[in-house]
Every structure is written in structure tokens, then in C-alpha cells.
């Protein structure tokens, strides 16, 4: 039994089948890439795990626990954090506040009106931890900037920072490198490897930037039209004719 797995997940939107009996197994502490052309259903996988949508059938299991029975807000508490493909920021909140929101499930209950020491301590600890995360991801100097004012790359990084604040066991990253410059991509590269290898966080990575996928992924799953067409080590995938066809076919259609 692997650490995280999807078994036969089917998701329909109206008549459209977004995922068709999709299965995938992710080993603990590994970086598992999920690739495929646009509209293949990659983000739908994440949205099912985040419980933003309800699959028609199948199961999603994290460390022996069924996720499909849980409401969306409980997923973070179970150790799953995610980032978003289109930068979905809390843009009217500062960078630090964004990370504090990420810490939400780990700060004790709602006690807004009591200026007691318990609350002060809990807040203090949360702020310290948020600062540490910002330090680690190089965002410390933007601590009190509004998220909406950061440049694109830093917004992406802030997204990761907020996700990390939940201290996840499983991290779902939705195109963290899209639109970034080479220097920024290699920074992400390092961060991901550090998270997986040193801290043992399991990462599922949706990404189009092949350079990143090939350099960090332990295993790659390829989706097309909601179905898994290939799975294997990066090198195997690169050589798989079906994968090349899926991508080229799409490219050809674009052109």
C-alpha cells in the first residue's frame, strides 16, 4: 500500500468526462510529476483531492485514510496542502498574513476577543514560524508587502510558502514554474528537492516545464483526455511514443 493513492477516480462535468477511472500511486517522500496536454485533467485531480469537486466514483487514500469522506476544510488538517495554477493569492493581505492563513489549521481555536496570554502565545508562535518560512523561501524582505503587489515569480513562491505553513505531509504543486525565468526555475528546483529529500514531504507536481520535471521527479504519470496513458521514470517517459504523440498531436492541432 503506497502512501498516497487514487483508485479508479471518475469525474464528470455535465457530459464531459474529465477523469476516467484514473489511478495513481505515490510513494512517501517522493516527487511525483503529473503531466499532460492542456485540458488533460491534471488540475481536476488536484481539485478532487482538495475536495472542491466530488468524483462520481473511485477513492482517494492518504496514509490509509479515505479523503473523499472529508469536507474541503479538513483536508489541510490531514496533512495535504496545495498551490494553485492561476496565481490565486490573498492579494489584499500582506505576505506574512498569507502565510498566517496557511497556518490556520494549526493555530488553536477562535478566541478573537480575549487578550489572554494563551492567545498571545499562540499568535506569537505562529508569527515566528511564518517568519521562518518566509526566510527559507527568500521572501523575508517583502514581509509586509501586499501579495497583490509582488512580481509574478514571488507570488508563485508565496503560494508555496502558504502551502508549506500547513506543515503538509503531502504537497500538491500546480505548475509552480509556469511563466518563470530560468534562474527562478532553478531556485524552485532546489526548494523542491530540499523539501522531499531533507524534510520527507511527499510532492505531487503538475508541470509543463519539462526541464523541471525531468530534473526533480522520481516518477512521472502522463494524462491525456482524462485517462492515464503512461507512467514511469522520467527517462522512460521521454522515450514513450504515446507521450510524444499526445504532445505532438496537440502541438500540431495548435499550429
Amino acid at each position: 500500500m503506497s502512501f498516497f493513492s487514487l483508485n479508479g477516480v471518475t469525474m464528470r462535468f455535465g457530459g464531459l468526462v474529465a477523469l476516467n477511472r484514473f489511478s495513481m500511486d505515490v510513494e512517501q517522500g517522493s516527487i511525483h510529476a503529473l503531466i499532460g496536454p492542456n485540458g488533460a485533467g491534471k488540475s481536476t485531480v488536484f481539485n478532487c483531492v482538495s475536495r472542491f469537486c466530488q468524483p462520481a466514483s473511485g477513492e482517494i487514500v492518504l496514509d490509509g485514510r479515505q479523503l473523499l469522506g472529508e469536507p474541503a476544510h479538513r483536508i489541510a488538517g490531514l496533512g495535504v496542502a496545495r498551490t494553485f495554477q492561476n496565481i490565486e493569492q490573498l492579494h489584499q493581505m500582506t505576505v506574512l498574513e498569507n502565510v498566517l492563513v496557511g497556518l490556520h489549521s494549526r493555530v488553536a481555536g477562535y478566541v478573537p476577543f480575549l487578550p489572554g496570554s494563551a492567545r498571545r502565545n499562540a499568535e506569537g508562535a505562529a508569527i515566528r514560524e511564518a517568519d521562518e518560512i518566509l526566510e527559507r523561501l527568500g521572501l523575508q524582505s517583502f514581509r509586509d508587502t501586499y501579495a497583490g503587489q509582488l512580481d509574478f515569480g514571488r507570488q508563485k513562491m508565496l503560494d508555496v510558502a502558504r502551502a508549506l505553513a500547513a506543515r503538509p505531509r503531502l504537497l500538491l504543486l500546480d505548475e509552480p514554474a509556469a511563466g518563470l525565468r530560468n534562474r527562478e526555475i532553478s531556485f524552485i528546483d532546489g526548494v523542491l528537492l530540499d523539501l522531499a529529500r531533507k524534510q520527507g514531504i511527499t510532492i505531487v507536481l503538475v508541470e509543463h516545464v519539462m526541464q523541471l520535471v525531468m530534473s526533480v521527479a522520481d516518477r512521472v504519470t502522463v494524462l491525456n483526455f482524462g485517462e492515464k496513458i503512461a507512467e514511469g521514470a522520467p527517462a522512460e517517459i521521454r522515450a514513450n511514443p504515446k507521450v510524444v504523440e499526445a504532445y505532438l498531436g496537440v502541438e500540431a492541432a495548435h499550429a
Partner: protein, 315 residues
């Protein structure tokens, strides 16, 4: 926002309370009355802004909860002899409870549907105030007797101002803590992105319901404050016009900020008093000018007047 509220905020509250005790000895009733009205509107506006500006919920039922607070506090006192210190919290809690009952179905709604449903609720509440003759005295309006606060009779501006200043200060202090708490951050997170909020472990529906309930509670408190310095309440005063006035205060001041509320309430609240000095021939243009001010404010001050003083929040 995070951490403890800065000391200067409490200093300002201290000044407010002292002013509340001292000014009644210095100023004529007219100014005291305006002061009391403005403090009541401030509590109302902050309550509305918690939903509108902080949580991003377009809910327009606020005036109904205000009415519940007014009628509740007044009737508890007049019919059951319950003094203000108990009557006002009971009435506000009643408003909050009805807020809860509205929030449970309303939080399933979004955007225009939420706005319409809450607006419709407010209209229904006004209709009940107007029609439930045996309790509210219906279209004749309710004449309220002087409130009793700790055994003291409070029925005019002079007596009411210290009490109202203290209540306003308490509400503001509570709000300072609220917006800097985990709950306050959850409000903002829901406003900015429900997805991020949910993925970060925030129970979106529950927090929205909490925002509704707290907002209704504030409106109920404001209703209680009204009974301290006014002697009469009529259902006609609890309609669209009051909602529009509050919306204007929130938007012109700068939604999503306490400072913005203070500015908005002061400016929009004093505007009619300032306009008294305008030439009489121009008075008839007031309604036109009011509309124009709203349009210009939303065009040129997207974050309200407060936003002109604080740094921009978007790129």
C-alpha cells in the same frame, strides 16, 4: 493583520470615552445629538463592513438587525421592565440569533443571489415592523420611554452621550482584536479567495456564518444605542434609505478598514449638516449631488478616502 492592536488605537478610545463624559457639559444638545447619531452609525457601519469589506459577502440585511435591536431593547424595557444593561445585550443576541437563522441558508448563496435574498429579508422585516401593530405599534411608530442604565434614567443626548461613548469604545476595542485574530484573517482570506481559504483549512461556510452573526450582533448593539437618545422609532426609518446611507459611508470611507469607517461615518454623517449652510436655492439639488458624489467616489477612490492615505494594495 496580526499581533496585538497598537497602543495608539486604545489611546484614541480613551480620548473618545473622556470626550463622551466631558462634552455634555460644554456643547449644546444639537452637537451632542449629532455626536450620538454618528457613534451609532459607526457601530452600524463597522458591523456592515465586517461582512462587506472584510468577508466580501454582499449582504444587505443590516438595517433589519438594527431595527430588531431598536424594537427589541425598547420593548423589553417598556413591556417587561428589563433595564438597558440586560435588555440591549438580549436584543442584540436576538438579532444575532436571527442573523444565524438567515445565515444558514444565505451562506449557500453567492453574489447577486445573496444580495437579493438578504435585501428581501430586510424588506420583510420592515413589513413586519409596520404590520405587527399590537407589538410595534405599527405605522403609528413606537414612542420609547427613557432607558434605565444602572438605575440612572437615560433619555436625552446629555445623559446618553457618556453611555454611547463607552459602548462605542468597547465595540471598537473588540473589533481591533477581532480583525487581528485568526478569525479576522479567515474573513479576509474568504474575501480574497474561497479556494485558498478552504485549502488552508478554513471552514468557509462556518466562518461566513460567524461573520453574519457578529455583524448582526453589532447592528443589534447599534439599535440599543438608538434607544438611549431617541424617543421615537418609525418603521419607515428602517428601509432602503438607511441601507444606502450605510453603504455610502462604508464605500466612501474605505471598506475593509476601521479607519475608513470612522472617516466615512464622519464625512457622510456631517454632510447634511454642512449643507445647511448652502444657499437655499441649491438645496433642491441635494439628491442629485448625493448621486454624483457616490458615482465620483467609486470612480476615483476605489478604496475610499482611507485608501488615499494608505498604500495601494494591488499592483
Amino acid at each position: 493583520m496580526y499581533g496585538a492592536p497598537p497602543r495608539r488605537q486604545f489611546l484614541a478610545l480613551g480620548v473618545l470615552v473622556i470626550a463622551g463624559f466631558v462634552l455634555p457639559y460644554l456643547l449644546p444638545d444639537y452637537f451632542l445629538y449629532i455626536g450620538n447619531v454618528l457613534m451609532t452609525y459607526l457601530v452600524l457601519a463597522i458591523g456592515l463592513d465586517l461582512l462587506l469589506g472584510w468577508t466580501g459577502q454582499f449582504a444587505f440585511a443590516h438595517v433589519a438587525f438594527y431595527g430588531l435591536g431598536i424594537y427589541g431593547t425598547a420593548l423589553l424595557h417598556m413591556r417587561l421592565g428589563i433595564p438597558f444593561v440586560f435588555g440591549m445585550p438580549i436584543a442584540a443576541a436576538g438579532a444575532a440569533l436571527i442573523g444565524l437563522a438567515i445565515a444558514l441558508p444565505a451562506t449557500r448563496l453567492r453574489t447577486v443571489y445573496l444580495a437579493l435574498a438578504t435585501f428581501a429579508f430586510a424588506e420583510c422585516a420592515q413589513w413586519v415592523f409596520r404590520t405587527w401593530d399590537s407589538v410595534t405599534r405599527g405605522p403609528d411608530g413606537l414612542r420609547m420611554s427613557a432607558a434605565s442604565v444602572f438605575g440612572f434614567s437615560v433619555g436625552n443626548d446629555r445623559e446618553a452621550m457618556p453611555v454611547i461613548a463607552v459602548i462605542t469604545a468597547l465595540v471598537l476595542a473588540a473589533t481591533f482584536y477581532l480583525v487581528r485574530s485568526k478569525l479576522g484573517r479567515a474573513f479576509c482570506a474568504i474575501r480574497d479567495s474561497e479556494h485558498v481559504a478552504a485549502a488552508s483549512g478554513i471552514d468557509v461556510r462556518r466562518v461566513k456564518v460567524l461573520a453574519f452573526v457578529i455583524s448582526a450582533f453589532y447592528a443589534g448593539i447599534a439599535g440599543g444605542m438608538y434607544t438611549l437618545f431617541q424617543s421615537y422609532v418609525h418603521p419607515d426609518g428602517l428601509g432602503v434609505w438607511t441601507l444606502v446611507l450605510l453603504l455610502t459611508m462604508v464605500v466612501v470611507g474605505g471598506s475593509g478598514s476601521i479607519g475608513g469607517m470612522v472617516l466615512g461615518v464622519l464625512l457622510i454623517g456631517i454632510l447634511p449638516e454642512v449643507l445647511r449652510a448652502a444657499p437655499r436655492g441649491l438645496l433642491v439639488w441635494q439628491e442629485f449631488a448625493y448621486g454624483l458624489i457616490l458615482i465620483l467616489a467609486i470612480m476615483f477612490m476605489p478604496r475610499g478616502i482611507w485608501g488615499l492615505f494608505t498604500k495601494s494594495r494591488s499592483a
